[in-house]
């Protein structure tokens, strides 16, 4: 497809509530976003046909772009003159996305590999059942029976190792006789990606009871993780079994020559593409109403996690429950009554479409966002780890007792770019708010560029990248990302008020003291040579007290010099001092309208 010039692409993303369409065209010699349209998703009653919403979104694109794409209910392909498009693609997370259960023999080894394979394929993992997960066999069987996943990934054992444990897991599945979430008549898809020596036995046990697919072992040896074959099977089964059961999807699938991809899998693909093409470590986060997805590439290893109950509307109450009221309110420079806060959050949960009208409400919502992102990042760091069990000369029965964990791959000091997505970040009234929310939540170290996804088109660009990387890359750079600027933060320890580092950015020189932040303007599209000279107890990566030279990138916010400390990050415990610090920071970067800085 890439050897023929592609004039136009229409791509849709069918979300749980909204179906979004974008039109991309070749303008001159590069691809650009032309228009976007959206319409409510129509998977649920009374429509129960996803294509209704897709057609409505496309009609909006037709109107705004003033050009014909549809012939009745058919997308005209290829483009002839100004009519039709050359390619149509779609992603989908409607109907709750892809929900999976995974199994492994050792929870921290094949169990984690299975979890990573499912998450990387865009699934929500409902549970990880492992031989050593501490539950009794009948408890596991009961749990399997309770869950109604879209599919199950059964893994365990290294190739050539003992088959007994993974066969035991297969027997448990057979005893539980689990049912699929959608449809009452078809068999539950089960993927076997464990010890290849157990394939015959597993097929004997599950072949008749389930729709079994056998693929390569995700953990062929202790030292090796091989997730791609299982991920591909998950995508195929998602199309064949899950999507085919959802109303209208058979028709939708027939409209596109490219398979419909789960939305998070497509976002992961674009994050992987950026990291690979620019040779950098990247972190992407998408905070929605119900869930928060975190994607990362550290040292060329891709990871994705989904925090299924951390979000800004449907799940907002769970953010409060998991983070605690104190943790949320530490970001709010105002007096807020706890009972009132709790009722407000619950009312947002049951009326998820309301928006903050007052600054106080906005500050509370942005405080919730920081905590949701922080918690999602903790979950991500705990799963994005090196392989466990490597370089151990133990037998499987020994590794059952193994407690050592693999080191997390998340290395904030090498992180070059953070991309944020989701309404609370992309639609924050001031871009400084998005930048500080992400800075406070992730606490990047060293020199890190930040951006937000303007209108959440990463899913469509992700699926496009599989067939036309150039078009996806150009639109991503020019139309999708809004570059906020760069955060500069050394790590070390010192006393409040002491100078932490001196920054020279182009012609501008600043000295930043511990507990302060400063903003140096550097416009969108500009870069500047910079020298950062840390004091003796502070480090930018070259060693304590040693200066570093960097090229920093500007953006709609600029360069944020952050001397609030890392490990630990300093947020005063005393309420009055904390409120004073928050107001000083907000003032330094012009975060909110001025009057908010004098109220309390």
């Amino acid at each position: 497809m890439t050897d023929k010039p592609l004039k136009s692409v229409l791509a849709t993303d069918c979300g749980s509530t909204t179906t979004k369409a974008i039109l991309i065209e070749l303008v001159g010699d590069s691809y650009r976003l032309i228009v976007r349209g959206e319409a409510p998703t129509t998977v649920e009653a009374p429509f129960e046909d996803v294509t209704r919403g897709v057609l409505n979104a496309i009609r909006e694109v037709e109107e705004v772009a003033d050009r014909k794409i549809l012939d009745g209910e058919r997308i005209i392909t290829p483009q002839e003159g100004n009519v039709g498009v050359d390619l149509y693609l779609s992603t989908s997370s409607a109907g709750g996305g892809l929900q999976m259960m995974v199994t492994g023999v050792v929870k921290s080894m094949s169990g984690e590999s299975a979890e990573r394979a499912a998450l990387g394929a865009g699934a929500i993992v409902m549970d990880v059942i492992a031989s050593n997960d501490g539950r009794l066999p009948h408890q596991k069987i009961q749990r399997i029976r309770q869950l109604r996943p879209d599919m199950i990934l059964l893994s365990g054992g290294v190739d050539g190792g003992t088959t007994r444990h993974v066969v035991e897991l297969a027997e448990m599945l057979a005893a539980a006789d689990p049912k699929a979430r959608l449809g009452t008549t078809f068999q539950l898809p089960v993927i076997y990606a464990g010890n290849k020596d157990a394939r015959d036995e597993v097929t004997k046990i599950l072949g008749e009871k389930t729709a079994l697919t056998v693929t390569d072992n995700i953990r062929p040896s202790m030292e090796q993780e091989n997730l791609m074959p299982a991920r591909h099977v998950i995508h195929d089964l998602f199309m064949e079994h899950v999507m085919a059961q959802a109303p209208g999807y058979k028709k939708l699938m027939s409209w596109s020559p490219v398979p419909i991809m789960p939305t998070p899998a497509a976002v992961g693909m674009i994050i992987e593409t950026i990291a690979r093409e620019q040779g950098i470590d990247v972190l992407g986060v998408d905070i929605g109403g119900a869930t928060t997805d975190v994607f990362s590439v550290f040292g060329r290893v891709f990871n994705r996690t989904v925090s299924a109950n951390l979000g800004m509307s449907y799940s907002i109450s769970n953010v409060l429950a998991e983070a605690s009221v104190e943790k949320v309110l530490r970001w709010v420079p105002l007096e807020v009554d706890e009972t009132d806060l709790r009722n407000r959050i619950k009312n947002k949960m049951i009326r998820p479409t309301t928006i903050p009208q007052t600054l106080e409400d906005l500050m509370v919502e942005q405080a919730m966002c920081r905590e949701a992102l922080r918690l999602a990042m903790i979950q991500h760091a705990s799963l994005a780890v090196g392989l466990k069990g490597v370089q151990q000369t133990r037998t499987i029965s020994d590794t059952f007792e193994q407690t050592a964990s693999g080191e997390t791959l998340v290395d904030l000091r090498n992180l070059a770019l953070i991309v944020g997505s989701g309404g609370v970040l992309s639609h924050a009234p001031r871009r400084q708010q998005a930048m500080l929310m992400m800075t406070d939540a992730f606490l990047p170290e060293g020199v890190t560029e930040m951006a937000v996804d303007s209108i959440f088109m990463m899913p469509q660009l992700g699926v496009l990248s599989t067939v036309h990387a150039q078009a996806a890359g150009e639109v991503f750079e020019k139309d999708c990302l809004i570059r906020l600027g760069t955060v500069v933060a050394p790590w070390g320890e010192g006393k409040l008020g002491q100078v932490v580092f001196k920054a020279r950015i182009g012609d501008v020189t600043r000295e930043v003291k511990l507990g302060d932040i400063e903003l140096v303007p550097l416009a969108l599209g500009e870069t500047a040579k910079a020298v950062f000279e840390p004091e003796k107890n502070w480090d930018f990566g070259a060693g304590k007290g040693r200066p570093v030279e960097k090229t920093v990138t500007g953006g709609v916010v600029g360069v944020l010099l952050d001397a609030r400390g890392r490990r630990p990050f300093v947020l005063p415990d005393d309420r009055a001092k904390r409120v004073a610090a928050l107001k000083r920071w907000n003032g330094a970067i012009n975060m909110y309208p001025e009057e908010s800085l004098v109220t309390s």
């Binding site: 109450s317 009722n343 619950k346 009312n347 009326r351 309301t354 009208q357």
Partner: protein, 372 residues
């Protein structure tokens, strides 16, 4: 007098409703199309396969798994009692015997020569599905359940906990803004009791103690909900709580008067038999709690929603977010252009006059329409 409701939530005196009553797995339907049913009647039943327990016979007998089938005293398919020997090994000229016993009562389902495990399935658990509402069976879903049709009032709440219940409707307050409290409940055994603007945890517990099957209120405080559930509810997916009582709130969290329209309808239906369900799910496929009041079919149907056309000037609204949360107002202008809020977000707004006379601007996303 103003009446209010949340868009999407139905509050109607006359409607034809169909309730699908589906078994969790295939079973037997015991009523036929056309049969009149009471809410309490069983319409379908099935037996859920029993729990499964495993006995690691290979370990217990110190045998290789492949030898386990040969050591079994009972073949697959046999019934066994708890502690009954199921396998035995012999050694030392047959003198030393090791025995593996069943760890539960059930049927031997599987004997594995790979893992050496024996699977025992316990007795099936009967499950019965009731009609839930008084009505008539209009469809039989073969082996799965039925569709029961009823005619009457439907009041959807905004949030609830606890599952299905049936009882007589009773009002413990005379005005929607009042709160009866734990001491003002009266004789409520077997009843669905309307307690006013707030259901606090003491009132709910007292109502349960006195035998009420459900409590209906305008609001509940998050603090009380946490005490009632024992956990901080993170996501609004409810209905399976085992509370011994169903709780339905019509307006939201905090002390909130029940909307007049809802309260008036509840008042008219006091003494009627009602079916309630607290199950709430606020995600794709929204499910709200409900009060269903079957009535004699007079053929009367309420006019379809008068608000289909959306907001208009002069319409009475209720504001559902700070800083005017819960207040009523009259729409005075619907500016077409986006306007900046105090937060600086540019959104679609409306201008309105509060009952106090104050003129305000609010985002359209933050209001509910109210019938004048």
């Amino acid at each position: 007098m103003a009446h209010s409701y949340t868009p999407g939530l139905r509050v109607t005196g006359f409607a034809t409703m169909q309730k699908t009553r589906r078994l969790p797995m295939k079973g037997e339907v015991i009523v036929a199309v056309g049969a009149p049913v009471k809410a309490e009647d069983v319409v379908a039943r099935t037996a859920l396969p029993g729990n499964v327990k495993t006995v690691n016979v290979a370990n217990l007998l110190g045998l290789p798994p492949a030898d386990v089938p040969g050591a079994m005293l009972k073949p697959a398919g046999s019934s066994v009692g708890e502690n009954e020997p199921i396998a035995q090994s012999k050694s030392l000229f047959g003198l030393m015997k090791a025995t593996a016993k069943a760890n539960t009562t059930g049927t031997i389902e599987h004997i594995s020569e790979v893992t050496g495990q024996v699977t025992i399935r316990e007795a099936a658990m009967p499950v019965e599905m009731s009609a839930y509402v008084d009505g008539n069976v209009v469809e039989v879903l073969p082996n799965e359940g039925v569709v029961v049709e009823t005619y009457g009032a439907l009041i959807q709440g905004i949030f609830g906990v606890g599952g299905e219940n049936v009882g007589l409707l009773s009002l413990a307050v005379s005005r929607p803004e009042d709160v009866c409290g734990a001491d003002g409940l009266g004789d409520i055994k077997g009843k669905v009791v309307v307690v006013g603007a707030l259901a606090d945890v003491a009132t709910i517990k007292k109502a349960r103690e006195k035998g009420a099957v459900a409590v209906v209120a305008g609001g509940i405080s998050d603090h009380d909900l946490r005490q009632l559930l024992g956990v901080d509810l993170g996501v609004a997916i409810t209905g399976s709580e085992d509370l011994g009582i169903t709780v339905i709130v019509t307006e939201g969290f905090g002390r909130l008067p029940i909307a007049n329209r809802t309260f008036d309808l509840l008042g008219k239906l006091s003494g009627h038999k009602v079916s309630v369900n607290g199950a709430t799910q606020i995600r794709a496929g929204v499910l709200r709690p409900e009060i269903v009041v079957p009535r004699t079919n007079s053929g009367e149907h309420e006019k379809p929603d008068a608000f289909g056309g959306g907001l208009t000037e002069g319409m009475i609204i209720r504001i559902i977010r700070e800083p005017y949360f819960g207040k009523l107002a009259t729409v005075t202008e619907l500016p077409p252009q986006l306007m900046a809020l105090e937060t600086e977000a540019k959104v679609r707004v409306l201008r309105a006059r509060l009952e106090s006379g104050e003129e305000i601007v609010v985002p359209r996303a933050n209001v509910e329409m109210i019938e004048g």
